[in-house]
Amino acid sequence: MFNDIIVRHFSNPTHTGEIAGASRSLELGNPVCGDRIRVDLRLDGDRIAEARYQAWGCATSLATGNAFCEHIEDKSLSEAANTSATAIEALLGELEPSQMHCVEMLRSLFAQLGSQPDDR
């Protein structure tokens, strides 16, 4: 079952889509269940002016993409990348064991945000 935060994110996603000519893209796949998330960013200097995502997977994965974009949009890249572990976990609310892999995915997204694009 889904907590209210997850429900809001997957049933009324606010940040879906692609960004033509995105400044940067993050991409992620979960090898076990096959879930995938891609996030496009439009940067305005250090500021994340726009974040849009596409996702394929279970409802919690879809919610994860939206929660991530909502959280980072309008933040500076470094501020977003430095989101604390506690704050990351709080982003999805309380999860059931079968949904825990989405916290992992979320952590990966934040980690990618912090690493230099050319690190990849």
Binding site: F2, R38, W56, S98
Partner: protein, 399 residues
Amino acid sequence: MDGYFDINATSPLCAPAEQALQNALRTFANPSGNYRMAKTSRALIANARASVAGLIGADSDEIVFTSGGTEANNWALKGAVDAIQAREPDGGIHLIVSAIEHASVLEVARYLQRCRGVALTVIAPDAEGLIRPQAVIDALRPDTRLVSVMLANNEIGSVQPIAAIAEALRGRDIHLHTDAVQAIGKRPVDARALGVDSLSFAAHKFYGPKGVGGLYLREGVALEPLLHGGGQERGLRGGTEALASIAAMGAAADHARSRLDTDIVRMRALRETLREGLRSQVAHVVFNGPADDEARLPNTLSVTFPGVRAEALAAILDHSHGFQVSLGAACSNNKAAALSHVLRAIGLPEDRIRATLRLSLHADTGEDAIARLCDAIGKGLTLLDSIAHPIRKEASYAA
């Protein structure tokens, strides 16, 4: 109830069952009592037994009440093994079950193999989910003493040729059990005509209460009890009788019997409407299970939306549209555990299983509810498509 498309999971109480339960709440005397009050309790049980027997073409004496389908299935298999081992302590026992049985048969089979020295053969269905009698015959061994094949499958609705299997097994001293939990109330069930030795049922699948059911035990067939105790149910199943639940089950049986013919016609029509609605709403949709309408439950549709995560679709149907449906696979990090063993057995690959919903409707489902469901599915798919658009695995699925 209006958005409830999961009747194969469980049904609500029908009005007569609720009434019978209400009426029975004050009938509390132990049926084993030696005083007049106990007579009322005994009469209530006898009436319910006659009603259930009437629904499945059995004699009252052939019905033993249990706590549900799971207990009935456990009892039939374990009780037969105990009885056979007591008669022939040195003979081996080979058990055949189909791969699409409910967990309350499959897990028992595995227990008997693991702990009780029983040899087990699990036979596969064909791609439509049907167990051919020949597959049973091919699996026979000289020591085969027990066969369990369900009458109707809960996930894809395939109805098995039990009478033909019984015919093939006749004269071989093999106990044939059938799990009829999912068939009763959805198609005519005549235990005697099926020719089985035992047959299980659960009230909550035909609008009776949860936690009560029973086993048809053909006259002359002996089982060791699973619940040993105070001699209730003619010594076959101990435990103070669940009076109110049994009364309600009896009323549900009468009700199911009186409605069956019209219910079947209506469920078929509704299912066709649903199938057509999905076809027109969704570009790419696959229906699993038997092609022949005679070989499937009239109320069950197993639907695959290739390229879609059914779990996400079901979540949207629930939270945004108020529909309850069931999944072919739950979201889980443990791949194997979460995939439907039935869909695997009919050969669906993992991505198709994860793309599958079960829609099971009841006879009182409104035409409008079906239209709204198709519409909601269309909207849900469009939403999922918009989220997944550039990274989805297969071609666009919304029509």
